[in-house]
């Protein structure tokens, strides 16, 4: 059984537009994702495709004006606001996207200690700093005194000391030099090998491919494909969705051809398949209704012409 299942998740925001009219902007639509213990799922997608919102929705920390539908299951149990609150920081840990997520007026050692749920917080914090090669003096520093790499490792520490079963890392690698980045990625592999489930959110497909087990491809607020990492090979012929194939071929080591056009804004989504305006395989039927998620060859895809 998957440890975390997200089914049919939709998120929209109530916004006031000109003339005080209320407008509902759909930013995530019928999204599916599952996470298995011992496995790294990489979530890749362009900026603005809803990756961070998915993470926040799982933890139940979306802003008040967000409307959420669909179900999120943890260990087979459907979550609600109060069960989400009791899982936060204990069973599910977030490694946030930027170092702004550290309290600017609190020493970082203390911030890591507040994540420790059982046992001696100081001992746990010092141990994790040692493991991540942070000197002991770092615990007395404030966030503004940390280098980018140190701040990332501090954020990582908060997840390690929490002993959570599910770790959601929201773009944990930008700004790291290659050595530190490799180390950070190895840490995630270690988490998974120790039985945790890791959701690695990133827009760096190449590094995701080096450690992930499965890749979920996001486009305009939904998953268009979930594929085993082995399918990202050759010309992308094992991939199921035209967008995944195009993404794969756009990488520098492949054809390096960018996909023409751009991701639609949440306020102007197409009616049918969200990728239709940019898809070379599109047929008139594609623009009629959004294709359903279907299982194909050990993966999932949202395209009516997928093979």
């Amino acid at each position: 059984m998957p440890i975390l299942e997200v089914e049919n998740l939709s998120i929209s925001f109530n916004q006031y537009t000109a003339g005080l009219r209320r407008k509902n902007i759909q930013v995530i639509s019928s999204l599916h994702v599952t996470l298995e213990a011992g496995e790294i799922l990489a979530v890749v997608g362009a900026s603005g495709s809803g990756k961070s919102l998915l993470a926040h929705a799982i933890l139940g920390i979306l802003p008040d004006n967000a409307l959420v539908s669909g179900t999120i299951k943890y260990n087979g149990e459907v979550l609600n606001a109060s069960t989400q609150a009791s899982l936060r920081g204990k069973e599910i840990a977030l490694i946030p996207q930027s170092t702004n997520y550290l309290d600017p007026l609190m020493r970082v050692g203390n911030q890591v200690r507040t994540s420790v749920k059982t046992g001696d917080a100081t001992v746990a914090q010092r141990a994790v700093f040692k493991r991540l090669h942070l000197q002991q003096s770092v615990e007395k520093m404030y966030p503004f005194q940390l280098s980018g790499g140190m701040a990332r490792r501090t954020l990582l520490s908060t997840a390690i000391v929490s002993d959570a079963k599910v770790i959601i890392a929201d773009e944990p690698t930008p700004g790291l030099d290659p050595v530190v980045m490799k180390e950070a990625l190895n840490n995630f592999r270690e988490f998974a090998d120790n039985g945790c489930a890791v959701m690695l959110i990133t827009h760096d497909i190449e590094s995701a491919l080096t450690i992930a087990d499965k890749i979920a491809v996001f486009y305009a607020g939904t998953t268009v494909e979930v594929a085993p990492v082995e399918d990202f090979t050759g010309n992308g012929e094992s991939l199921r969705h035209p967008y995944s194939k195009a993404l794969w071929r756009a990488l520098p080591q492949n054809d390096f051809i960018p996909i023409p056009g751009s991701q639609p804004h949440p306020s102007a989504l197409p009616t049918g398949c969200l990728f239709a305006p940019r898809c070379t395989m599109a047929t008139p039927a594609c623009s009629e209704k959004q294709p359903d998620m279907q299982n194909i060859r050990d993966g999932m895809v949202r395209c009516m012409h997928a093979t």
């Binding site: 702004n100 507040t114 994540s115």
Partner: protein, 333 residues
């Protein structure tokens, strides 16, 4: 490192001191000119009701005694050089050294201002925190309404209202003055003094809370919407713990700073409140000196209040410098 820090602090204080000095000279000069050009006759102010009994010759003598027959610039320079020698001059209406009067009045005012300052600071802060934590509930609306209404209420109006309700109608408090009328100074008890202090202090506090409360509310709302509070929630923190760990530490510093920087408003408020409650503090002395053309006293008060307001601002700056780790420890790496 320590030395560098002190060096920087020294330069900072030096620059502040220079600014203070130029400001002081300018303010003194302007006040001097204003009083000199006002229609009040200082000699008449000095003599008071006996004016009719004074002949032109005596008038001239008095003018000569006070140096009033000399050109304005010379008068200013005379006063300035005496000041540099540490002499604030003699008050014309009280006929006692200005320094003595300011010292005596300041003690009265200080008690009033400190009481109002602490009350408005603490209550305002708590109101702001409550309002932000319960944003958009009836508590928040009530507090906001109170603050906006008060922010536009003149102090003298509030003072009169308090006086009418609590002193005249209900008779709970004395109508004015710093001590009971007709009681020997030696017989005045602390309780008497406190009784006379309550109404003016409450008047000042009622108005003073608005600023801190609204500022704290906005700041805490921003903090609660920040990424670091989102992350704290992601780690399972909520409610009071969340406020205690991340809210308080991020809103307390700006609130304290704001409260120190509000010394000027406090002083201005005290001037009005003291006038209404006939409370014998600096404010009342300022009004009298202005109305009766007592130049030495007025200038003495101007210098003193400038120092006072400046000290508040300086403390506010220093607190940021000393307490905020971003400025305190930035030179340690």
């Amino acid at each position: 490192m320590r030395k560098m820090l002190l060096g920087k602090l020294g330069i900072f204080l030096l620059l502040k001191g220079l600014r203070m000095l130029t400001l002081l000279i300018a303010i003194c000069f302007i006040s001097f000119l204003l009083v000199k050009n006002s229609p009040i006759d200082p000699i008449q102010a000095y003599i008071g009701a006996d004016m009719l009994k004074v002949g032109p010759e005596q008038r001239e003598k008095i003018a000569e005694y006070w140096g009033l027959d000399q050109p304005v610039m010379v008068q200013f320079l005379n006063w300035g050089s005496a000041l540099l020698a540490g002499d604030l001059g003699t008050s014309m209406i009280f006929r006692r050294p200005v320094a003595e009067i300011i010292g005596e009045r300041f003690v009265n005012s200080l008690v009033l201002m400190i009481t109002a300052w602490v009350l408005s600071g603490v209550i305002g802060f708590v109101m702001g925190v409550l309002s932000a934590m319960k944003k958009d509930t009836w508590i928040d609306r009530l507090i906001k309404w109170y603050c906006y209404t008060l922010a536009s209420t003149p102090t003298f109006w509030m003072g009169l209202l308090m006086l009418i309700v609590f002193a005249v109608w209900l008779g709970w408090f004395p109508i004015g003055l710093g001590v009971p009328a007709g009681v020997l100074a030696a017989d005045v008890t602390i309780a008497d003094r406190i009784e006379h202090l309550i109404l003016p202090a409450i008047t000042l506090s009622i108005i003073g809370v608005a600023n801190v409360a609204l500022h704290t509310r906005q700041k805490l709302i921003d903090v609660l919407a920040s990424d670091y509070v989102l992350f704290a929630r992601a780690r399972g923190e909520r409610g009071f713990i969340l406020f205690w760990r991340h809210g308080l530490r991020n809103v307390a510093l700006p609130a304290i700073t704001l409260q120190f920087a509000a010394f000027g408003e406090l002083f201005g408020g005290a001037v009005l409140a003291e006038q209404i409650f006939s409370y014998p503090g600096l404010g009342q002395a300022t009004v009298e000196a202005g109305l009766r053309g007592d130049v030495p006293l007025l200038l003495g008060l101007v210098i003193f209040s400038t120092f006072f307001v400046f000290a508040g601002n300086l403390i506010a700056d220093l607190i940021y410098y000393a307490v905020d780790p971003r400025t305190r420890e930035s030179r340690m790496i």
